[in-house]
């Protein structure tokens, strides 16, 4: 099966009509990535995470299941992967961040283990840690809020 220009036009039309902002398609080795134009305000796309590499986190405003923020205007650091969350580099060592810690965009705030592969999670925004939601050594889901920051400062 191959994709013709007509197929691509059809797929673009479908995407346009759908409630989605981007579409990735792979048919017999042909990859197609489509993204809606910036006319529609979109939340930062959740980056498909290369597993063994650390990367900054997208910051988002709405999260399911999380307890409500203690104050307005907080930025959230969401988990890029499902895995086991560790607050410290090794057992017994101090955590990467504590309540009140000042972080930069690339400050590591924790590690997520996926089948013995360690992935570091970065803050993504500059600010002060005001809430830590994820428990040490517990399972976190994809997109689960790990902690909240007061941006700036």
């Amino acid at each position: 099966m191959t994709l013709t220009a007509k197929d691509v036009a059809e797929i673009m039309r479908l995407l346009e009509q759908s409630s989605f902002d981007n579409l990735s398609l792979e048919i017999d080795g042909v990859k197609l990535n489509l993204q809606r134009g910036s006319a529609v305000p979109v939340r930062q796309p959740a980056a498909p995470a290369p597993p063994a590499e650390s990367q900054p986190q997208s910051v988002r405003s709405v999260a399911p299941k999380a307890k409500p923020p203690s104050e307005p205007g907080l930025a959230e650091v969401a988990s890029p992967l499902l895995g086991i969350f560790y607050r410290a580099p090794k057992p017994g060592e101090p955590p990467f961040v504590e309540l009140g810690s000042k972080v930069e965009e690339d400050t590591v705030i924790g590690i997520i283990e996926v089948m013995k592969l360690m992935n570091s999670v970065r803050a993504g925004v500059k600010g002060e840690v005001v809430e830590i939601l994820a428990e040490n050594a517990a399972l976190v889901e994809y997109d689960e809020i790990l902690l909240r920051l007061r941006p700036g400062t």
Binding site: E10, L14, L15, Q17, S18, S19, F20, L23, S24, E26, D28, G29, A46, P48, A49, P51, P64, L81, L82, G83, I84, E113, V114, M115, L117, L139, E141, Y142, D143, E144
Partner: protein, 458 residues
Amino acid sequence: MAISRILIANRGEIALRVIRTCKALAIESVLAASKADMDSLPARLADRTVCIGPARPADSYLRVDTIVQAALGVKADALHPGYGFLSERPALARLCEQEGVIFIGPTAAQIEAVGDKLCARTEAEAAGVPTAPGGPVETVGEAMMLGREIGPPFLIKAVGGGGGRGMKRVDRLEDLPSAMELAGAEAGSAFGDARVYLERFVERGRHVEVQILGDGNGRVVHLGERDCSVQRRYQKLIEETPAPGLSADFRARIHAAALQFAERLSYRSAGTVEFLVDLERNAFYFLEMNARIQVEHPVTEVVTGINLVAEQIAIADGRGLRLKQDDVKREGCAIECRINAEDPARDFCPSPGTVRTAVWPSGEGVRVDTHIASGSRIPPYYDSLMAKIIVRAPDRPIAIERMRHALAATHIDGIATNLAFHADVLADPEFQAGGVDTSYLPHFLERRRLVQEVRAHG
């Protein structure tokens, strides 16, 4: 040991179907869902749902490490892979085996053995199961030699293919060399395995498959056959059991062949052995084995009264085969229609979107397996199967009648579906006569298109 918590590594109707059986067995179900499926019916009905990644299957449903991590993280004893996605990837079964998570399915080695089509063909021959005339060919010279022996038309098949993928039809012997080279190159890039084999192409064939259950220690039972000849581009649309018009002797031979094949592998769990029935030669040939629960398994369930997923779980739990061959009684006829979110008027183009209203049929002998209700979203990332409508009746004419009523009672708004198309097939005298071959649907579509054109201009 007893399985008490199952991670379901799938989505859609099959996820819901497994969740329902878990509930019936008082087993906790944990659904591993992508971000796009977090508000789906299965996600709401599972005891727990964990989000494994973004919508894109490559970042969620196809991630072996994430799926197994999820199973370990929620402390599931077992994992049900459903169909599609990772269900027939040896890597998932193997990682489960290594990590002590029970894989509800065959062993990794069995998945590997039947996934390699040439290996499966060799196993079939060794088990005394008929295969289509042909064999492996490495060079153009070999292909020509074998081609001369078996005669055209031919089918060049990729060893790593299956389910209609990686096949090339060649009508003339002189076209074999160029087709061989092309097929090898295509197979190499599509499956990472350039090996191909040559078979005689069966012009008029029916797709008949046999459902089996094995305990993994060499004991296997069959649950009868299904006819899945109503296909479009190798996608099955209507399945039924029993296969119409087969003699008792032919039926017994095809069942026996499936058992021989599965016994040879000491197959574990539910599986399907697929055959091509050659109408012109009154023969059948082994096609492939599907090492998973199949989409069309409910037609077998409704005529046997056996819950295949419950049996899969029992076998995985070490309780073995709970049935003897004599316990398997098949009563009546069953038909399944696959309702897809796709538009037959636009070459079956997928039509994802939000389902405004969904009204499904009910009544005597009607079963609907679906994850779609009013307000459900059909994401564009996955296949377009919305529902399976299954009917059971004492005989085939009544089953067809019941299905026509069931289809008429179904109402879907908001997206295009193939409902009307199914109704047309069921009203077609050729389908009603029974025993159509795999060329039926393409011809039917052509006829239907012509009729519609005449109507439009008339």
